[in-house]
Protein backbone atom coordinates (compact mmCIF):
# COMPACT_ATOMS: atom_id res chain seq x y z
CA UNK A 1 0.00 0.00 0.00
CA UNK A 2 1.33 3.47 -0.89
CA UNK A 3 1.06 5.69 2.15
CA UNK A 4 3.65 8.41 1.53
CA UNK A 5 2.36 11.78 0.36
CA UNK A 6 4.36 14.92 -0.15
CA UNK A 7 4.23 16.71 3.21
CA UNK A 8 3.49 20.18 1.89
CA UNK A 9 2.61 21.74 5.22
CA UNK A 10 5.85 20.79 7.04
CA UNK A 11 7.90 21.79 3.97
CA UNK A 12 6.20 25.20 3.85
CA UNK A 13 6.65 25.62 7.58
CA UNK A 14 10.32 24.77 7.18
CA UNK A 15 10.69 27.34 4.40
CA UNK A 16 8.94 29.92 6.55
CA UNK A 17 11.24 29.14 9.46
CA UNK A 18 14.25 29.52 7.15
CA UNK A 19 12.93 32.87 5.90
CA UNK A 20 12.40 34.08 9.48
CA UNK A 21 15.90 32.97 10.44
CA UNK A 22 17.30 34.79 7.39
CA UNK A 23 15.42 37.95 8.32
CA UNK A 24 16.60 37.75 11.94
CA UNK A 25 20.17 36.98 10.84
CA UNK A 26 20.18 39.89 8.43
CA UNK A 27 18.75 42.17 11.12
CA UNK A 28 21.58 41.19 13.44
CA UNK A 29 24.50 41.07 11.01
CA UNK A 30 23.49 43.39 8.13
CA UNK A 31 23.93 46.86 9.66
CA UNK A 32 27.29 46.12 11.36
CA UNK A 33 28.59 44.45 8.18
CA UNK A 34 27.55 47.42 6.04
CA UNK A 35 29.06 49.85 8.55
CA UNK A 36 32.34 47.90 8.58
CA UNK A 37 32.48 47.86 4.80
CA UNK A 38 31.68 51.59 4.67
CA UNK A 39 34.53 52.37 7.06
CA UNK A 40 36.96 50.29 4.99
CA UNK A 41 35.70 51.89 1.79
CA UNK A 42 36.21 55.36 3.24
CA UNK A 43 39.83 54.50 4.00
CA UNK A 44 40.36 53.00 0.55
CA UNK A 45 38.82 56.06 -1.12
CA UNK A 46 41.00 58.41 0.92
CA UNK A 47 44.07 56.32 0.04
CA UNK A 48 43.58 56.89 -3.70
CA UNK A 49 42.82 60.59 -3.28
CA UNK A 50 39.09 60.46 -3.96
CA UNK A 51 38.05 62.01 -0.63
CA UNK A 52 34.78 63.70 -1.74
CA UNK A 53 33.44 60.37 -2.97
CA UNK A 54 31.09 58.63 -0.57
CA UNK A 55 30.38 54.89 -0.68
CA UNK A 56 26.81 54.20 0.45
CA UNK A 57 26.31 50.59 1.45
CA UNK A 58 22.54 50.65 1.15
CA UNK A 59 20.17 49.35 -1.47
CA UNK A 60 17.74 51.61 -3.31
CA UNK A 61 15.20 50.99 -0.51
CA UNK A 62 17.66 51.87 2.22
CA UNK A 63 18.44 48.31 3.33
CA UNK A 64 22.04 47.50 4.30
CA UNK A 65 23.83 46.05 1.28
CA UNK A 66 27.26 44.79 0.22
CA UNK A 67 26.87 46.57 -3.13
CA UNK A 68 27.80 50.21 -2.64
CA UNK A 69 26.66 53.19 -4.61
CA UNK A 70 29.43 55.72 -5.09
CA UNK A 71 28.25 59.31 -4.95
CA UNK A 72 29.93 62.67 -5.07
CA UNK A 73 33.29 63.49 -6.57
CA UNK A 74 31.80 65.03 -9.69
CA UNK A 75 34.71 67.39 -9.89
CA UNK A 76 37.24 64.57 -9.85
CA UNK A 77 38.92 63.49 -13.06
CA UNK A 78 37.89 60.26 -14.74
CA UNK A 79 41.23 58.72 -13.75
CA UNK A 80 40.63 59.33 -10.05
CA UNK A 81 37.02 58.11 -10.29
CA UNK A 82 38.31 54.99 -11.99
CA UNK A 83 40.86 54.38 -9.21
CA UNK A 84 38.23 55.01 -6.52
CA UNK A 85 35.81 52.55 -8.09
CA UNK A 86 38.47 49.88 -8.45
CA UNK A 87 39.79 50.41 -4.90
CA UNK A 88 36.31 49.99 -3.40
CA UNK A 89 35.48 47.02 -5.64
CA UNK A 90 38.71 45.30 -4.55
CA UNK A 91 37.78 45.37 -0.85
CA UNK A 92 36.99 41.89 0.49
CA UNK A 93 33.26 41.45 1.03
CA UNK A 94 32.24 44.23 -1.31
CA UNK A 95 29.93 43.16 -4.13
CA UNK A 96 29.48 44.93 -7.44
CA UNK A 97 29.65 48.70 -7.26
CA UNK A 98 28.02 51.42 -9.27
CA UNK A 99 28.11 55.17 -9.45
CA UNK A 100 25.08 57.14 -8.37
CA UNK A 101 25.08 58.71 -11.83
CA UNK A 102 24.30 55.32 -13.30
CA UNK A 103 27.56 54.03 -14.68
CA UNK A 104 28.78 50.61 -13.64
CA UNK A 105 32.37 51.78 -13.47
CA UNK A 106 34.01 55.06 -14.11
CA UNK A 107 35.25 55.45 -17.64
CA UNK A 108 38.90 54.75 -18.14
CA UNK A 109 41.29 57.63 -17.87
CA UNK A 110 42.60 56.79 -21.31
CA UNK A 111 41.34 58.73 -24.25
CA UNK A 112 38.32 57.10 -25.82
CA UNK A 113 39.34 55.43 -29.04
CA UNK A 114 37.45 53.11 -31.28
CA UNK A 115 40.15 51.16 -33.00
CA UNK A 116 37.86 48.31 -33.93
CA UNK A 117 36.82 50.03 -37.13
CA UNK A 118 40.13 49.00 -38.66
CA UNK A 119 39.28 45.38 -37.93
CA UNK A 120 36.03 45.90 -39.82
CA UNK A 121 37.91 47.56 -42.66
CA UNK A 122 40.23 44.57 -42.94
CA UNK A 123 37.32 42.15 -42.74
CA UNK A 124 35.55 44.06 -45.49
CA UNK A 125 38.68 43.80 -47.64
CA UNK A 126 39.01 40.08 -47.04
CA UNK A 127 35.32 39.43 -47.56
CA UNK A 128 35.58 40.59 -51.13
CA UNK A 129 38.97 39.07 -51.87
CA UNK A 130 41.16 36.37 -50.41
CA UNK A 131 44.77 36.31 -49.42
CA UNK A 132 46.10 33.45 -51.52
CA UNK A 133 49.11 31.31 -50.88
CA UNK A 134 51.00 29.03 -53.18
CA UNK A 135 49.69 25.48 -52.99
CA UNK A 136 50.82 23.75 -49.81
CA UNK A 137 53.23 26.56 -49.05
CA UNK A 138 53.39 29.62 -46.83
CA UNK A 139 54.51 31.85 -49.67
CA UNK A 140 51.97 34.58 -50.37
CA UNK A 141 50.80 34.45 -53.96
CA UNK A 142 52.25 37.29 -56.02
CA UNK A 143 48.76 38.39 -57.01
CA UNK A 144 47.84 38.91 -53.35
CA UNK A 145 50.63 41.41 -52.76
CA UNK A 146 48.31 44.30 -53.54
CA UNK A 147 45.75 43.01 -51.07
CA UNK A 148 48.43 42.85 -48.37
CA UNK A 149 49.22 46.51 -49.18
CA UNK A 150 45.58 47.40 -48.63
CA UNK A 151 45.39 45.38 -45.41
CA UNK A 152 48.47 47.19 -44.12
CA UNK A 153 46.86 50.52 -44.97
CA UNK A 154 43.63 49.52 -43.23
CA UNK A 155 45.53 48.41 -40.11
CA UNK A 156 47.45 51.67 -39.85
CA UNK A 157 44.78 53.44 -37.71
CA UNK A 158 45.15 50.60 -35.21
CA UNK A 159 48.86 51.10 -34.67
CA UNK A 160 49.53 50.83 -30.97
CA UNK A 161 47.01 48.03 -30.63
CA UNK A 162 47.80 44.35 -30.55
CA UNK A 163 46.63 42.81 -33.79
CA UNK A 164 46.28 39.05 -33.93
CA UNK A 165 46.77 37.29 -37.24
CA UNK A 166 45.26 33.83 -37.22
CA UNK A 167 45.90 31.27 -39.93
CA UNK A 168 43.28 28.63 -40.68
CA UNK A 169 43.33 25.61 -42.98
CA UNK A 170 40.72 23.11 -44.06
CA UNK A 171 40.68 19.61 -42.63
CA UNK A 172 42.21 17.86 -45.62
CA UNK A 173 45.51 16.21 -44.78
CA UNK A 174 46.99 15.46 -41.36
CA UNK A 175 46.22 18.01 -38.66
CA UNK A 176 49.84 18.34 -37.61
CA UNK A 177 50.76 19.55 -41.07
CA UNK A 178 47.72 21.81 -41.19
CA UNK A 179 48.68 23.38 -37.89
CA UNK A 180 52.22 24.00 -39.06
CA UNK A 181 51.04 25.39 -42.38
CA UNK A 182 48.48 27.72 -40.79
CA UNK A 183 51.12 28.99 -38.40
CA UNK A 184 53.63 29.49 -41.20
CA UNK A 185 51.05 31.35 -43.29
CA UNK A 186 50.06 33.64 -40.42
CA UNK A 187 53.75 34.28 -39.90
CA UNK A 188 54.23 35.03 -43.60
CA UNK A 189 51.43 37.62 -43.42
CA UNK A 190 53.01 39.10 -40.31
CA UNK A 191 56.35 39.43 -42.10
CA UNK A 192 54.66 40.93 -45.14
CA UNK A 193 52.93 43.52 -42.95
CA UNK A 194 56.19 44.32 -41.16
CA UNK A 195 57.80 44.89 -44.56
CA UNK A 196 54.99 47.37 -45.23
CA UNK A 197 55.76 49.38 -42.12
CA UNK A 198 53.49 47.83 -39.49
CA UNK A 199 55.61 47.46 -36.32
CA UNK A 200 56.21 43.82 -35.43
CA UNK A 201 55.71 44.36 -31.69
CA UNK A 202 52.01 45.04 -32.23
CA UNK A 203 51.44 41.91 -34.30
CA UNK A 204 50.85 38.37 -33.10
CA UNK A 205 50.69 35.45 -35.47
CA UNK A 206 49.20 32.08 -34.63
CA UNK A 207 47.87 29.11 -36.50
CA UNK A 208 44.96 26.96 -35.45
CA UNK A 209 44.95 24.43 -38.29
CA UNK A 210 41.44 23.27 -39.10
CA UNK A 211 40.13 23.56 -35.51
CA UNK A 212 38.00 26.64 -36.13
CA UNK A 213 36.14 26.28 -39.42
CA UNK A 214 33.94 29.06 -40.75
CA UNK A 215 30.45 28.92 -39.22
CA UNK A 216 28.18 26.76 -41.32
CA UNK A 217 30.96 25.18 -43.37
CA UNK A 218 32.21 21.61 -43.29
CA UNK A 219 35.72 21.38 -41.86
CA UNK A 220 36.94 19.94 -45.17
CA UNK A 221 35.61 22.86 -47.22
CA UNK A 222 38.53 24.66 -48.92
CA UNK A 223 36.84 27.98 -48.05
CA UNK A 224 38.14 27.44 -44.52
CA UNK A 225 41.67 28.26 -45.70
CA UNK A 226 41.92 31.83 -44.59
CA UNK A 227 43.74 34.46 -42.59
CA UNK A 228 41.83 36.40 -39.96
CA UNK A 229 42.76 39.66 -38.31
CA UNK A 230 41.48 40.78 -34.94
CA UNK A 231 42.34 43.62 -32.62
CA UNK A 232 42.90 41.83 -29.34
CA UNK A 233 44.03 44.73 -27.16
CA UNK A 234 43.79 48.41 -27.57
CA UNK A 235 46.30 50.99 -26.56
CA UNK A 236 45.24 54.46 -27.54
CA UNK A 237 47.87 56.29 -29.46
CA UNK A 238 49.13 59.26 -27.52
CA UNK A 239 50.17 62.04 -29.82
CA UNK A 240 53.84 62.79 -29.59
CA UNK A 241 54.73 66.45 -29.05
CA UNK A 242 55.58 66.66 -32.73
CA UNK A 243 52.01 65.79 -33.65
CA UNK A 244 50.43 68.40 -31.41
CA UNK A 245 49.29 71.51 -33.15
CA UNK A 246 51.14 74.39 -31.58
CA UNK A 247 52.00 77.98 -32.26
CA UNK A 248 54.56 78.44 -34.99
Amino acid sequence: MVTSRTPFAPLALGALAVALMAAAGAQLTGPPLAARLAARAEQAIAAVGGAPVEARFTSANGWPSRHPTLAGGDTLGEGTRDRVAKAVAALPGVGGIRWADGRAFSQSAEAAVQPLHCQEDVEALLRARTLRFEEGSARIDAASGELVDEVARALRPCLGSIIAITGHTDASGPEVGNLELSRARADAVLQALVRRGIPADGLRARGVGSREPVDGLEATDPANRRIEFSVVATQPIRPTPVDLPGPR
Binding site: M1, T3, G14, V18, A19, A26, Q27, S65
Partner: protein
Protein backbone atom coordinates in the same frame (compact mmCIF):
# COMPACT_ATOMS: atom_id res chain seq x y z
CA UNK B 1 20.74 43.55 -3.49
CA UNK B 2 20.16 44.02 0.25
CA UNK B 3 21.96 41.73 2.66
CA UNK B 4 18.70 40.20 3.94
CA UNK B 5 17.83 39.10 0.41
CA UNK B 6 21.27 37.53 -0.14
CA UNK B 7 20.93 35.70 3.16
CA UNK B 8 17.38 34.58 2.36
CA UNK B 9 18.40 33.21 -1.03
CA UNK B 10 21.43 31.43 0.44
CA UNK B 11 19.45 29.87 3.28
CA UNK B 12 16.55 28.80 1.07
CA UNK B 13 19.02 27.20 -1.34
CA UNK B 14 20.67 25.40 1.58
CA UNK B 15 17.23 24.27 2.83
CA UNK B 16 16.27 22.98 -0.62
CA UNK B 17 19.64 21.22 -0.98
CA UNK B 18 19.18 19.62 2.44
CA UNK B 19 15.69 18.44 1.51
CA UNK B 20 16.93 17.05 -1.79
CA UNK B 21 19.81 15.19 -0.16
CA UNK B 22 17.56 13.88 2.62
CA UNK B 23 14.95 12.73 0.13
CA UNK B 24 17.60 11.06 -2.03
CA UNK B 25 19.04 9.21 0.98
CA UNK B 26 15.87 8.19 2.83
CA UNK B 27 12.71 9.30 1.08
CA UNK B 28 13.07 7.20 -2.05
CA UNK B 29 13.79 4.02 -0.09
CA UNK B 30 10.77 4.61 2.17
CA UNK B 31 8.49 5.13 -0.85
CA UNK B 32 9.75 1.89 -2.39
CA UNK B 33 9.22 -0.02 0.88
CA UNK B 34 5.69 1.42 1.17
CA UNK B 35 4.94 0.36 -2.36
CA UNK B 36 6.07 -3.19 -1.60
CA UNK B 37 3.87 -3.42 1.52
Amino acid sequence: MPIWMELLVLMLVAYAAGLAIGWAMWGRGATRRDAND
